[in-house]
Amino acid sequence: MSSSLPGWKELPMGGVAFRPSTDIKTGEWRLGFRPVVKEEKCVGCAMCVVLCPDMAMGLGEEGKAQVNYDYCKGCGICARECPYGAIEMVPE
């Protein structure tokens, strides 16, 4: 193990995790496609917010779906499940 890693004396007692995982930008994992919301079609039903496994979907100020590309892994569940066809997967 490299000497730059903390030893057991520096680690928190009991291995308690202490930083929120928001430091990890899982958006870097996207493989070529990202969801884009077509605002004119979105009615703000929030189905995508409910079904996003990465907590990367939210409703914006105007009540339209908004993607957080920092964390979106590009799985495409939102685009497939949107009842109004308001989300499209476009190549990056």
Binding site: P20, S21, T22, D23, T26, M55, D70, C75, I77
Partner: protein, 307 residues
């Protein structure tokens, strides 16, 4: 209730289910997780994805840990050190429930601790690389029951875990699917409200282990319900009698049987069943799976008094 940056695979059912379960909770929640995909992906030191108090334990003792947590909070409440006992939720996978964790689960149910046990069933040990578990369905491919010339995946049927748990005569048992989020949330709330143990069996599509495109995660769960591969129901005990009710799409299928899709619709979109269709169609094996599904469905209908 979960932070962004969960390191589950793209399109993961487990983080989706965990999110929905925590969304449903109305009181403060304490979560206990058995070892599994969800535990590993949410708690890589020093990072944690949980906004609620969360405790990780070994594979086999999630229910035992939950029992201890519940007893500890009860003791604190009795001494007047806390005002109310929080809801205790266990999130465990099929390995930690069907196989390794079953004795501690059975014991906790028998002792009657007040907690909700949520089983996210991705039907194999996905975290360690897709090994078979008691929850793997018949003829599914996994790395420890591969599909080859002689054997065509797992030979044994899936263990009916929810009915086994229901026979412990606990106040509430239900099955749910992420494709029916409202139904799932209602069942979580019901499970948290009842006095005593509750059990929720949720189907959890796994794009990596089941071999399908990540965007199909919710669709696969929906097909599992529509083909009656994974029917939705809830059950309670009244006067020493099991009262089982079908819910959501499953109730509709029971009333209008023509809506039941052939199980092939569910099998054909998953790579783990690809050997049943390519290079040549294995008709007897597909018929066997259909027969299993039909038999289980008939049993459920009888128990629900709808046969």
């Amino acid at each position: 209730m979960l932070h962004e940056g969960v390191r589950t695979c793209s399109g993961c059912g487990a983080s989706l289910i965990a999110k929905l379960v925590l969304k449903a909770a109305r009181k403060p929640v304490v979560v206990v997780s058995a070892t599994g995909c969800l535990e590993v992906a949410t708690s890589i030191l020093p990072y944690t994805s949980w906004k609620v108090p969360w405790i990780h334990n070994a594979f086999e003792n999630a229910a035992a840990t939950a029992s201890g947590v519940e007893a500890a909070y009860k003791a604190l409440a009795k001494k007047g050190l806390i005002k109310e006992v929080p809801d205790i939720v266990v999130l465990a996978g099929d390995g930690g429930t069907y196989d390794i964790g079953f004795q501690s689960l059975s014991g906790a149910l028998e002792r009657g601790h007040d907690f909700l046990y949520v089983l996210y069933d991705n039907e194999a040990y996905m975290n360690t690389g897709i090994q078979r578990s008691g929850g793997t369905p018949r003829y599914a491919w996994t790395t420890t029951c591969p599909a080859g010339e002689v054997l065509k995946g797992k030979l044994e049927a899936k263990k009916p875990i929810a009915l086994i748990v229901a026979e412990h005569r606990i106040p509430y048992v239900a099955t749910a699917s992420p494709s029916e989020p409202h139904d799932l949330i209602r069942k979580v709330r019901r499970g948290l409200e009842v006095e005593g143990p509750a059990f929720l069996h949720v189907i959890c599509p796994c794009p990596r282990g089941w071999r399908f495109d990540p965007s199909l995660s919710v669709e696969v769960a929906r097909l599992a319900v529509k083909t009656c591969f994974f029917p939705l129901w809830e059950c309670r005990w009244e006067d020493d009698d099991m009262v089982l009710e079908l819910t959501g799409p499953s109730k509709l299928i029971a009333e209008v049987p023509e809506l039941k899709l052939p199980v092939e619709a569910y099998l054909a979109i998953q790579g783990r069943f690809a050997h049943l269709f390519r290079p040549k169609r294995m008709e007897p094996l597909i018929r066997q799976i259909q027969a299993d599904v039909d038999a289980n469905w008939k049993l459920l209908l009888r128990r629900a008094g709808m046969a």
